[in-house]
């Protein structure tokens, strides 16, 4: 983006430069998105056509090409739903349904509303992301300061990511929901039954999100150049001072880059955690019920909701990054 702005500022000024910058970044993206939508429509006509023709033959009707195309684009259970069907579904399940509804005399979340499901997926994601990135930063600090930790922990951290998460998800759910401490907390009334269901999901997303943070933070904490470290030595700075005043500030850009990767991974973790655990609420549960009942439009709208959540979280982190870097005195 910066290259495009620089290009615009060189030969033009004011509004014209802005438009030039905008068209050189937005136009290509828009073209690609339009191309994807066009391919999608074409593919859905190709894939849904068989059912339409089958149905027409059974009724003994001859259809024109236009009729076939329009029917293939508007089936109730298409093989591949068209974009407008998915957006209709998204719209009607977010704006068209109340978020809360009354049931058994009390107001509860409405399971027909997709925002409600997104909420049930987002909370464990954010909690797990918090736990995972905190542990990741701690581990990275340990790795950069202790040679023994560097040599022994790093290979196992890589190996830990080769364990497929779905494989451990059911185990974590069984183990965590049977933990005496957790059951105690529920019976004491410290946490509610709903919060207890959230813990295993959060742990799985923490498991997925800690690794990118470790890798990014280790690179960031090691990013100060030898001359900078030498300067700290000439000041007779202790290891703690070098860490707070040099290594940590130098690692912030690396930290944010890896946080963006890790929050997307955390969302994947939560959704995958919902699949084998028979969760009733959440985007993963929505995918699962959609696949059981052949509701393809529901599956796709849940996927898009997940995509919107991921995009929102990444954009939020991007905004935070800009603010933090600005306050640290980075040139924009």
């Amino acid at each position: 983006m910066s290259a495009a702005t620089a290009y615009g500022a060189n030969d033009r000024s004011g509004a014209a430069g802005w438009i030039a910058a905008l068209s050189s970044t937005v136009l290509p993206v828009l073209t690609i998105v339009l191309a994807i939508v066009a391919i999608w429509y074409a593919a859905s006509v190709m894939m849904n056509r068989a059912w339409t023709l089958d149905e027409a033959e059974r009724r003994g009707v001859q259809l024109t090409v236009m009729e076939i195309v329009s029917d293939a684009m508007n089936q109730e259970r298409p093989v591949l739903p068209t974009p407008h069907q998915v957006f209709d579904e998204l719209w009607s399940t977010t704006v068209g349904e109340p978020v809360m509804r009354e049931r058994r005399g009390e107001m509860q979340g409405n399971p027909r509303n997709l925002v409600f499901h997104a909420y049930h997926t987002l909370w464990p994601t954010i909690l797990g992301f918090g736990i995972g990135s905190f542990l990741g930063i701690l581990l990275a600090i340990g790795i950069t300061h202790s040679r023994a930790m560097d040599m022994s922990v790093m290979p196992w951290a890589i190996a830990s990511q080769t364990i497929p998460i779905l494989a451990i998800a059911p185990i974590i759910v069984v183990v965590v929901s049977n933990l005496p401490a957790l059951n105690n907390a529920v019976s004491q009334g410290w946490i509610s039954e709903d919060t207890k269901l959230l813990v295993p999901k959060a742990l799985i997303s923490a498991y997925l999100s800690f690794f990118p943070v470790v890798v990014g933070m280790v690179a960031g904490l090691r990013s100060p150049q030898a001359t900078d470290l030498d300067l700290m030595r000439t000041y007779s700075a202790s290891r703690g001072q070098t860490f707070w005043k040099l290594r940590l500030p130098a690692s912030v850009p690396f930290l944010f880059t890896s946080l963006k990767v890790s929050i997307a991974a955390a969302l994947v973790g939560t959704i995958v955690a919902e699949l084998p655990t028979g969760a009733r609420f959440g985007l993963g549960a929505r995918l699962l019920t959609g696949s059981y009942y052949g509701q393809t439009i529901q599956i796709w709208s849940a996927l898009f909701m997940a995509a919107i959540c991921a995009a929102a979280l990444v954009i939020l982190l991007g905004a935070l990054e800009k603010i933090v870097l600005k306050r640290m005195g980075a040139r924009s």
């Binding site: 050189s24 970044t25 136009l27 290509p28 993206v29 828009l30 073209t31 690609i32 894939m47 093989v79 202790s146 040679r147 023994a148 560097d150 040599m151 022994s152 922990v153 790093m154 196992w156 890589i158 190996a159 990511q161 080769t162 364990i163 497929p164 998460i165 779905l166 494989a167 451990i168 059911p170 185990i171 069984v174 183990v175 007779s236 202790s238 290891r239 703690g240 997307a264 969302l267 994947v268 959704i271 995958v272 699949l275 084998p276 985007l283 993963g284 995918l287 699962l288 959609g290 696949s291 393809t296 599956i299 796709w300 849940a302 996927l303 997940a306 995509a307 991921a310 995009a311 990444v314």
Partner: protein
């Protein structure tokens, strides 16, 4: 130069104090802590003193063995229920007796589902990157979109692909293709842009054709990026293949076995599958890393001082 604010004897003393404290309340905890600190001290000494390939291999190995020993001790000493966490020895016993089943699952999921999808997806992404690379306009559009799609939970498409391609390994490969395509594409496109303007100018002064520039300059400079993508995709491929089996599979496969054995509470079998998956994943990653080391020995990240 002051090495550290904590004196040299600080950490061992802290460990000893913790063990003594634990011994007062729970002897079992003290034993576990003692083994942990003992192994860690040995590891720390080895890491400080030893240099070279042997240490690089031995220190992580010792750490892994320590973890396994602690796991075994915790299970034995605290009588942890078999359903919650089986001991490593029980898992190993199950792996030995069930080797044919594990091998069949491994073939179905990893060799057929994951590997076929990985090769198709990464190959297609590489070719697509070569095509996109010729148009700066497409590149500008594709990079943000590709980055966005790479961050999406693509695993969610698993039920759709199982619906389309049936229960066999083909649907698993399709999920893997969808998962690895965009991360690989983004890395390849970035890699193809990695050569300097100076280097490209030099090729132009040699009157090199597009193909010559590609083969002699741009593909070699792209290699670190390509391998980065390939390494990321190894784990994605395994996850995709196993997750897809959850939505429907023939009666063989790692995801299928995990699901079934979970229902029968045969946790040692579940852990045996996980161990196989972890070994396969590490082996796969290691293999790609090894090829990378052979091919990109010139790159700064591969040099060891």
């Amino acid at each position: 130069m002051r090495a550290s604010a904590i004196p040299q004897w600080g950490l061992p003393a802290l460990g000893a104090a913790l063990i003594a404290l634990a011994a007062l309340t729970d002897a079992r905890l003290a034993l576990i802590l003692a083994v942990w600190f003992g192994a860690w001290a040995l590891n720390a000494v080895l890491a400080e003193r030893a240099r070279g390939r042997g240490a690089r291999f031995f220190v992580p190995l010792l750490f892994g063995v320590t973890l396994l020993a602690l796991w075994e001790m915790a299970v034995q000493l605290y009588d942890i229920s078999f359903v919650i966490l089986p001991a490593p020895s029980a898992i190993w016993a199950r792996m030995v007796t069930e080797t044919p089943t594990l091998w069949a699952d491994f073939q179905q999921t990893i060799l057929k589902g994951a590997l076929a999808g990985y090769i198709m997806g990464c190959g297609a992404a590489f070719l697509a990157a070569l095509a996109v690379d010729r148009s700066p306009f497409l590149q500008k559009g594709l990079l943000p979109v590709g980055n966005f799609i790479a961050a999406l939970p693509i695993v969610g498409t698993a039920p759709i692909f199982v619906m389309w391609f049936g229960f066999g390994w083909q649907s698993k490969s399709a999920v893997v293709v969808a998962m690895v395509f965009f991360p690989m594409l983004v890395n390849c496109v970035q890699g193809l842009k990695a050569s300097d303007a100076m280097q490209r100018d030099l090729m132009r002064t040699y009157a090199a054709s597009y193909g010559q520039t590609l083969v002699k300059l741009r593909l070699p400079t792209a290699m670190p990026f390509v391998f980065n993508g390939l390494k990321i995709c190894t784990t994605l491929a395994l996850i995709g293949a196993i997750v897809a089996e959850f939505f429907g599979s023939p009666t063989v496969g790692m995801g299928f076995r995990i699901k079934i054995e979970m229902g029968r509470l045969a946790m040692d079998m579940v852990w045996a599958e996980i161990a196989v998956a972890a070994l396969a994943g590490s082996g796969f990653y290691g293999l790609v890393a090894l090829i990378e080391k052979r091919l990109t020995f010139w790159h700064p990240s591969q040099r060891r001082g």
